[in-house]
Amino acid sequence: MMQKAPMPRKASGPFRQASQAAAFTITDEFKWSSASTPSPGPLFYLDPVVQTHGQALGSNTSTIGDTVKRNGSAEDFSHAEPPLVFPKALPIQEDHFQSLQSWEGVVETATSQGFTARLWDRAKKSPDQIAEFPIEEVSTADRDLVQPGAIFYWDIGYSEDKTGQRMRASLIRLRRLPAWTRKEIEKAIHDSAEMRNKLGWE
């Protein structure tokens, strides 16, 4: 029986603080200090879009050339004036997955009932495996992709939703790369002829 794991203590404060200017005062800032009890601060955001153009509010390190997906942090809301009106912020990811084991696999044989595959540990901590799967383990949208040579990912771990509900999970996801384009095919055939010519391939 799966048990709910104990939740870590979260910083206090409302989930979305953009409209609560009162929360963004110096005393509410969340920082390490020589004080023994730090004060809580605003919560973690995925950065609203407007902050990706030029400097983020309060930030003194970001530049247009930055490739950091900039995170909201306490300093962004540390100014006395109210924050700009942001477009709707990207939703915080509420499902957390604690991965216990992760493989990449290649399908070797496939039928309508299932498939065999070679698996290699993405963390390189365990030996390669050969496994046989029933097709039901693959989502219906992906089943057409299960063919010899198809690559997939298999993750085992615990999935936890925003309420803390925990569930042991096995996720198989087929790798999707767009099919060969006309241009790719033409280039491959051209390069193939060139290669054979260069090698004197009889």
Partner: protein, 218 residues
């Protein structure tokens, strides 16, 4: 510190260059078989606009402006899928002008006590030199940058901050920044895809190891 101390983890891939946001639509991704039709139909769309596209599909968020393509997720099984989406997208749009790529990996670690939390904060940014300059000095955010060791253009940055998500916790973000060797050529996109293929898995592992090692030094 161990993997089990990671309470939240996210990753993103950022391309800088010149993009046309309005072509990036869930329907387009499904038409190219990069996502299933069902995933596209259940996408949550915020904007599809010539200046900005913003939507999420299957726990992955997409945000594209004229000069930035960002794809991000906090769902670890989707890290590899995210890489494939970038490979697929820019494999098709290989003519897109791209001059930089950033790989980002972020963690919120839960520490065992506030004392440990303070001790780490003092270690990464000693407070002694601030004592008669600021009252109650505290670290808001620390960013340290290092040079690349792989002969490529770019840098590596690590940001450390108190976590605003878990307490007592530390937020660590690793940014691996790559720049195209010859920005004036139009091969930047292909070059960055080649780097992504080689580096993504290594980056995810090495950035986690860097974060864990930093915390070992608390």
């Amino acid at each position: 510190m161990a993997d089990s101390d990671i309470k939240l983890e996210s990753a993103s891939i950022v391309f800088l260059g010149s993009f046309n946001p309005k072509i990036f639509h869930p329907v387009w991704f499904a038409s190219e078989n990069m996502v299933s039709k069902q995933e596209a139909e259940s996408a949550e769309i915020s904007f599809i606009h010539p200046e900005l596209s913003s939507f999420s599909m299957s726990k992955i968020q997409y945000e594209i402006t004229r000069d930035r393509f960002v794809i991000q997720t906090a769902y670890t099984p989707s890290f590899a899928v995210m890489k494939d989406l970038v490979l697929g997208t820019f494999g098709l749009l290989h003519y897109t002008p791209v001059h930089s790529m950033g790989l980002n990996h972020e963690f919120h670690f839960l520490l065992d006590s506030e004392e440990t939390w303070h001790r780490f904060g003092r270690k990464v940014a000693p407070k002694e030199i601030w004592t008669d300059i600021l009252e109650k000095p505290g670290t808001r955010k620390l960013i340290v940058e290092g040079v690349r060791t792989d002969q490529r253009k770019g840098y590596v940055r690590i940001e450390i901050a108190p976590s605003v998500q878990v307490h007592p916790g530390v937020f660590i973000a690793v940014n691996d920044h790559f720049q195209v060797a010859e920005p004036e050529s139009n091969a930047g996109c292909q070059e960055m895809l080649g780097v992504l293929i080689k580096e993504w898995d290594l980056f995810l592992d090495s950035s986690k190891q860097s974060a864990l090692r930093l915390l070992e030094r608390k």
